[in-house]
């Protein structure tokens, strides 16, 4: 059971990453796209607009909460850190 939970946590972290609200926002935007299209309004603008808004919001939030990093220090992809999903190269 623990292994299953670890595996699920790994895949979640691998795909979704540090900000789960981005994924939630994308799901909501996809539902909104389908709904807008279904009621007869062209929906091609919904997802690009939502993506831009979500990205701006997420990055601004991170920029105001993260400590300022040194400019050229190695980050999270060092071998010893690779057992965490955030150690992937994104």
């Amino acid at each position: 059971m623990n292994r299953l939970r670890s595996l699920a946590a790994f895949w979640w972290d691998f795909v979704v990453g540090d900000d789960a609200w981005l994924a939630v926002g994308i799901v909501v935007a996809l539902i909104a796209t389908a709904v807008v299209q279904r009621i007869g309004i062209p929906a091609w603008w919904v997802l690009p607009a939502a993506t831009m808004a979500l990205l701006s919001w997420s990055v601004t939030r991170a920029a105001t909460s993260e400590p300022i990093a040194p400019r050229t220090v190695d980050d999270d992809s060092l071998a010893s850190d690779t057992d965490s999903a955030s150690g992937t190269g994104a």
């Binding site: 299209q37 920029a63 980050d75």
Partner: protein
């Protein structure tokens, strides 16, 4: 070959080259510091584990009904791509540290030099084996994810695989010549571009999967790319100004 497919193959090539550079740094650090035999065992076992994962995920993706395929694949790609782009923007804005292969290489070498050699079963150096195995598997998973999602989304998995293998071969050849981390590769800029491309294709496919009809069809992809690129560049400028103000305030 259409322009869209060429852009897609370029994206796969860039993404896979970045991941291969990261894996290469670890492989070289362990191989040059410790034991090449255990290093190759780690590479081989990592690739075998990767093949097992792909053999499960690949057929699973192809079983998704065609009507839902672009929604599922595009949605996954969009969430995954936004993660890349978000990190790339935070790095470019000075909030997260930029990726520095020589520094990572030096740190890996220092750690490898201090770890005691432990033999387990057929593996002469367990530390080197496990470090290389994890690096190859994790970086390889990102490659596999990108190849499978791009390939199935555009019905060009074969072409995507060729682009990935070419990228890995080019990076491996570079590593064999240099015998050190590929510090000249503009990794941070490449990650920014890859994040933009993953997000763009994710928006296009997921939007189509959800029922949206983009003006001009595939011809709208460059418009989405330009839109997101402008937003990302403006976002980086805003973050830089804010992080500069924070540094100034704390000084």
């Amino acid at each position: 070959m259409s322009l869209g497919l060429l852009v897609l193959l370029g994206a796969v090539f860039l993404a896979c080259a970045v991941e291969a550079v990261e894996a290469l740094t670890v492989v070289l650090a362990i191989g040059l510091t410790r034991d090449w035999r255990s290093t190759w065992q780690g590479v081989g076992t990592g690739l075998a584990a990767l093949a097992a994962v792909v053999s499960v995920l690949g057929p699973a993706l192809t079983r998704i009904p065609i009507s839902s395929l672009r929604l599922v694949v595009g949605g996954l790609l969009l969430v995954f791509g936004l993660q890349w782009l978000r990190k790339a923007m935070l790095r470019a804005g000075g909030v997260l540290a930029t990726h520095d292969e020589p520094a990572i290489f030096d740190r890996a070498v220092a750690q490898a030099a201090n770890a005691p050699p432990v033999r387990r079963t057929a593996v002469h150096d367990w530390y080197g084996f496990t470090v290389v195995f994890k690096a190859v598997l994790l970086e390889g998973l990102e490659v596999a994810f990108i190849v499978l999602t791009f390939g199935t989304g555009q019905h060009a998995t074969g072409w995507a695989a060729i682009a990935a293998v070419t990228a890995i071969a080019v990076v491996a050849a570079g590593g064999a010549v240099v015998r050190g981390p590929l510090s000249k590769v503009p990794e941070n800029a490449m990650k920014f571009v890859v994040g933009l491309l993953l997000t763009t294709f994710g928006v296009f496919w997921a939007g189509e999967g959800a029922g949206a009809r983009y003006p001009g069809g595939d011809a709208f992809i460059p418009v989405i790319l330009a839109f997101i690129a402008i937003a990302a560049v403006v976002g980086v400028a805003v973050i830089r100004r804010r992080s500069g103000a924070r540094i100034g305030a704390s000084a």
